[in-house]
Symmetry: C2
Subunit: 403 residues, 2 copies
């Protein structure tokens, strides 16, 4: 039951010249579902990546980071198994998959980036993945983004894909991306899996800077449950077949389009958060630094008590004050903190505002989307996160995940 | 549905000479339930306290800290309203309650310590509390600990109380304590509310050192949901009417008994954690420092994914590895981490152990109590926490808390 998240309209998903996608049903965890994706890139494409900072990062993450030093000709993504917590054997299995795909595409194993998502600490079923590759390769097409978005889903209920067109000085360019993720979501330098491609020509160095900057404005601003995944990866691809985006002005226009696509994908992950019934924007303003604003916003967004209050549309707003109070900002003067629920002023100077009527709080929280805004009144910095509520279904989904 | 937590046997609760307790039904939040507790102390009693570090600490916490500078003759505790997030008006209300009790006990307002627990950010109903004081005073008795434990319950399903007797060089001494708490539990320097008293004579300075040390070995080692309360307070009382415990040897014996009582109370809070069906000990061993071991133990104990796996008895142990990985220990070598579920070796050197059979994991997790043990193999430090699972009922209790 995703929050205001209709499935993507395939007509609005633009092919990216130089990027082909093919999917297959490889039976990795369950039969009869798309669970394998191959992306083939034009020669000369540039790829940049931002990866999880979880110390238990998965074998494919380690390998993808290493292979990024070489030109990239293909990406291979499987769901159903994360190949994390699998040690050296996991690395070998990921490499075997790269080798098998490289052989079929007449490229080298180091030119393939592997990605996995699914259950942690179980051995990757390499044979099934390799057996699925021919079907995925036969399916390679530029207009296959929706199918690709479906193939990377795990507990997602809605595929996540979107596109933007921009006009650069040399002509039109396109940005299309897909993402997956619904639980174990507190991206740290990236989301579960996000792939965004443009045909515009960007240098490798510029693309790397862009990937970091885009991640910080999109995937690094969402949290479902505070669990940073072992497999987070956000990949930014420039096929280079389109117009040049090397001037500073063009790069800015392009980056803005990439931010918009990535933010929409990141927000889609929250809207489709496991068990989510509410999409909540948490904004912390007038702090001394962006870091302290983010720290407080995360404390609010991760509090199980706040999240269950969201679920119940119960303006038990003291729970939000409590979360602000334990966020670890030692010298915070709570006597200056104001709290808003959408436009309703709930607390002024650290205490319930006399004008606040609980009906107004209930009314705001009953909406499927609302904003919690804390104003610290001690500086000029701000931060915004997107999160969801904690419902019965979150527990149900995660208690029954492997059954 | 508390985990292995029978109600305390009143016959095993020892009165503490010099400490009388009286309760009343003041109708603070709901009618016909005990919600007001008065404790009267003998003249010359010493009291030490450890309080929440939540920046939004409640008015009674601020006042109790201040009043601790004076001799303490009485404590007054109400449930149903936390008097937190209430600003200056909240302080005034707490002071009014102290004044009313002091007048009735022929003492001074500064000799009364106030405590509140319940809903945050609503005005304290002072009139109802004051109206309830005469009944509580009329009820003052030394053998009233169980009733006192009942009077401080909020979402607790079982009253929490226990006693120990110890022999000091001068003769026998007694330690009896009560506590409350079930949700908003991640004590930081204390628990929701814990009151432990002894008749043994301890100086104020020694009692203060003891309170901090005891809290670190008991209330500061439990977590239900990671939400540090605004009202946490752990009070240690020495009525001074019993034998002397001023020698170092006696102090150590006494402190050990206080630790045992406090630990039992702290564990009772977890056993009665909101919606808890499992009591889980999380131990992290062979780390470089106790701080890093605690950090990792908290990451495991707070992960909603790990906690729902506990609930489901699903040995989805990769979630535990993932939590270890994102705990923020930057230079952690995951290739050295071993993981045990009770005595079952699950992961060795960061990866699934070949001998591990999932049935063994399921068998361990199906028990109402088990231990998760992570061995970092990089030092000599260790830390242990006690926590519970995340069930449907946690969401239900907290979604419906105020209805």
């Amino acid at each position: 039951m995703a929050v205001n998240l209709p499935p993507p309209d395939p007509k609005l998903l633009c092919p990216v010249p130089g990027v082909e996608l093919g999917v297959a049903m490889a039976g990795i965890k369950k039969p009869n579902r798309k669970d394998l994706l191959v992306m083939r890139l034009a020669a000369g494409a540039a790829v940049a990546g931002v990866f999880t900072r979880n110390r238990f990062c998965a074998a494919p993450v380690l390998l993808a980071k290493k292979h990024l030093r070489h030109p990239v000709r293909a990406l291979v993504v499987n769901t159903g198994n994360a190949n994390a917590g699998t040690g050296k054997d996991g690395l070998q299995r990921a490499l075997t998959v790269c080798g098998a795909l490289a052989a079929k595409l007449q490229s080298r194993p180091v030119e393939v980036l592997p990605f996995s998502t699914g259950v942690i600490m179980e051995p990757l079923p390499v044979e099934r993945i390799i057996a699925g590759l021919p079907a995925a390769i036969a399916d390679l097409r530029a207009d296959n983004w929706l199918s690709a978005a479906q193939a990377i889903m795990t507990t997602d209920t809605v595929p996540k894909a979107c596109s933007r067109k921009v006009r650069l000085s040399g002509g039109a360019a396109v940005v299309t991306g897909i993402a997956k993720g619904a639980g174990m979501i507190r991206p740290d330098m990236a989301t579960m899996l996000g792939f965004v491609a443009t045909d515009a020509k960007v240098s490798g160095a510029a693309l790397r800077r862009m990937a970091k900057s885009v991640a910080d404005q999109s995937f690094n601003c969402v949290t479902v449950d505070g669990d940073t995944s072992t497999n987070d990866a956000f990949m930014l691809i420039s096929s280079g077949l389109g117009v040049d985006a090397r001037s500073e002005k063009d790069r800015k226009i392009l980056e803005q389009a990439i931010v918009e696509v990535s933010r929409q994908l990141a927000q889609a992950i929250v809207r489709d958060g496991e068990g989510a019934t509410k999409f909540v924007t948490v904004t912390v303003e007038r702090g001394r630094s962006e870091a302290e604003c983010r720290k407080i916003a995360y404390a609010i967004a991760h509090s199980p008590l706040v999240k269950t209050a969201f679920f119940a549309s119960d303006p038990n707003l003291g729970r939000i004050l409590a979360a602000i109070g334990y966020a670890g900002i030692r010298n915070l003067d709570t006597g200056r903190v104001d709290l808003y629920l959408d436009d309703v002023l709930v607390a002024k100077a650290g205490a319930r505002h006399p004008s606040y009527v609980e009906e107004h709080g209930v009314k705001a929280m009953q909406k499927p989307e609302f904003t919690v805004r804390a104003v610290l009144n001690r500086g000029k910095a701000a931060a915004t996160l997107w999160t969801c509520d904690l419902s019965f279904d979150y527990v149900k989904i995660n208690a029954e995940y492997r059954t």
